[in-house]
């Protein structure tokens, strides 16, 4: 009697299946993965993201942080999952220069809401008096003596040269002084004091400029100043106007996504993205494609590790992360009774980074290795024997929250066995 195929086989298919253990690609903006998992997002506040045309969109509490990053090489915005830590915008009335917290320098002109970039509104502010320096300033309350960040959205007006300054008026010292000029609608920044990080191209000729100050003294009086028409020497002869909005000052070494303020500061919560996993203990390969973090090009001391993915089961731990202090990508393993063992590689300079990390020999002494495009590196020293996989995958943060990536993930794939970078990068997810 021949054995027939069970009825349940070849059942009418409703969903795709995947041969991978975990297949997360941002292309469909869905939390339901073909490998069966669902992403869970925990964030106790709203925040902003970029849509795929470079406009700012606001998302709600625990709404998945789908966003976009501009791929200059391709000339388009690529989707990504943008995971950030907590912080506050200390600048009040961030889109309204008529707000009570702003002080006029001279008698600048202002036309409200003359441009938009999605949910961000830009005022047209102007200096119409040759012989008088005009602009706006706001005293900002800081916390802790350290490097701060200043950012804002800007679009070319009639002014040929504008200045942003962050000044300690108690010590009469500039913490940031930058001059913005224009060429065919594209800003060019010359820095006198502080650090110019980058200009993020947005929709409609709008750019978000990101700056880092020198170390500020919080106990002193500090203010952000915007001069629509002047030079680094703060000459008074220039006139012209400029579209500006979305001003943000943060107690942070690196600017994060923008949050609008009115009469009070806005505090954004950190976010945790997880997926339930139930894999038997096995060797596997992790592939991540991430946007190169904007902070990767900064010098000096930054902050602690930035997580791409990790799991742990009691003391058995695996993590793939960016070491913000050393500017490296690190793959690490640690068994419950063992020592943390890791391998690292420098963060490549490309705008998108492909990473493959192998997790091997968990039952005899787990090791890991790393390939960021230069070929697989040597295995780490073995840590102890793992007893089980974790049951929760943490994407972009550690299990207790914190150490958020502060960057974007384009793809995260996990496959059984040892795979190469070329293999994993060639998969369509």
């Amino acid at each position: 009697m021949p054995s027939l195929i069970p009825t349940r086989a070849f059942r009418r298919p409703r969903e795709r299946v995947s041969g991978l253990l975990f297949a997360f690609g941002v292309d469909e903006f869905t939390s339901s993965l073909p490998t069966g998992q669902s992403l869970t997002v925990t964030r106790g506040s709203p925040r902003t993201v970029y849509d795929t045309q470079g406009r700012v969109a606001t998302i709600a509490h625990s709404q998945p942080p789908w966003s976009s990053v501009y791929n200059a090489q391709e000339g388009l915005y690529e989707p990504m999952l943008a995971i950030e830590g907590a912080r506050s915008n200390k600048c009040l009335y961030s889109e309204d220069f008529s707000g009570a917290s702003w002080s006029a320098i001279g008698t600048p002109t202002r036309s409200a809401a003359r441009a938009r970039c999605g949910d961000v509104v830009l005022d047209l502010i102007g200096d119409d008096a040759s012989g008088t320096l005009e602009g706006y300033s706001q005293v900002v309350t800081l916390s802790g003596a350290a490097v701060k960040t200043v950012s804002f959205f800007i679009k070319q007006g009639t002014s040929t040269s504008s200045v942003v300054r962050f000044r300690d008026t108690t010590a009469a010292t500039n913490r940031l002084l930058a001059t913005i000029t224009w060429s065919s609608g594209v800003p060019s920044v010359a820095i006198t004091t502080g650090v110019y990080i980058t200009a993020v191209p947005c929709a409609g000729g709008v750019y978000r400029l990101l700056f880092q100050t020198t170390s500020a003294t919080a106990a002193n009086s500090n203010q952000v100043e915007l001069y629509p028409a002047t030079t680094s020497a703060l000459v008074t002869t220039n006139t012209g106007d400029l579209l500006v909005g979305g001003v943000q000052v943060e107690d942070s070494v690196f600017p994060k996504s923008y949050n609008k303020t009115t009469s009070g500061t806005f505090s954004q919560s950190g976010e945790v993205v997880t997926a339930a996993i139930a894999w038997p203990l096995q060797a596997l390969t992790v592939y991540a494609r991430i946007a190169r973090p904007t902070w990767a090009g900064l010098s000096g001391t930054l902050f602690s590790d930035r997580t791409i993915v990790n799991w742990n089961n009691g003391g058995d731990l695996y993590k793939l992360q960016l070491d913000a202090a050393a500017r490296t990508i690190t793959s690490a393993v640690q068994s419950n009774a063992g020592t943390l063992r890791s391998v690292s590689a420098s963060i490549p300079s490309t705008s998108f980074i492909d990473i493959v990390a192998q997790f091997k020999s968990p039952t005899t002494g787990a090791v890991t290795n790393l390939d960021v495009g230069s070929g697989p590196g040597a295995d780490s020293t073995a840590t102890g024997v793992f007893t089980a996989m974790g049951t929760t995958l943490y994407i972009g943060s550690i299990s207790s929250g914190g150490n958020e990536l502060d960057g974007g993930i384009r793809k995260l794939l996990i496959a059984s066995g040892a795979r190469t970078l070329a293999e994993m990068r060639g998969l369509n997810v």
């Binding site: 292309d27 849509d51 406009r55 969109a57 998302i59 709600a60 989707p79 060639g426 369509n428």
Partner: protein
Amino acid sequence: MTWAVYLNETPLDSLGIYVEDISARYAGVSRSFPQTALPGRQGTVLTADPETQPRILTISGSIDPIARTLAARNTAEDALKVLAYRGLIRVVADDDVTAPRQIDGVCTGLNVTPVVHPMVTQVSRYSATILCPDPTWYDVTSQMIAFSAVASPVPLGSAPTGGIVRIMAPPWSAAVVDPVLTYLNAGGVAIQSMTFTGTLTAGTEYLEVDLDRQTVVEVSSGVSSNAISWLSAGNFFSLDPSDGEPLVSSYPQLQVTATSGTPSATWTGPRRWL
């Protein structure tokens, strides 16, 4: 220039399976129109909306693994069968010129023929027939479009699309009361609107409207609940390129307003192609 075809996540050429043709890849969608003849009249009258037919793709080419052994050929043939018969499969075609497109279907047949004698050849020819119930191709990469009371155009392909709209009350807004989602043509004329009766608390709640599945869900601090009862007027709609002129990049628009509060919204979805 490269040419890559995937079944689900696997590029076929990585298995030594090469695609030479995908018949019906570039064809438009087939449609049939119900008709009836009227007594005393010449010709017929169209009596209902057209019905679209599924797309039948035939993917054909050669199996020629790098190892060039009988065993390697057999392994590649088995791999192709595993991929082709794995539930709902996604065919992705990337010609390295236009944005990659994908279509979902089921394999209804796979013909494999060794070249010359099966015991001596390392090469075989194959032909896989894929039935695609939804005949439209989708962009592999979806879009996210932000909009508010200021309408935003939604770039479309050549076929109508649905997508998912999420409406929220930004933290700097008052609560959004009774939001209205409006679909406008490229000229700004309202085509369809959906009125929702309810209140979205600023920063913590959003309404998720799935235009394809025709569902409405309220998400409050990350917890979802059915909110189809919020829909008090209007109907679900599709975004149709014929409501604009895609040949000159003129597209229909989405807008969200409310009785009070300042709603903000996003639309996510792929461009679809005939």
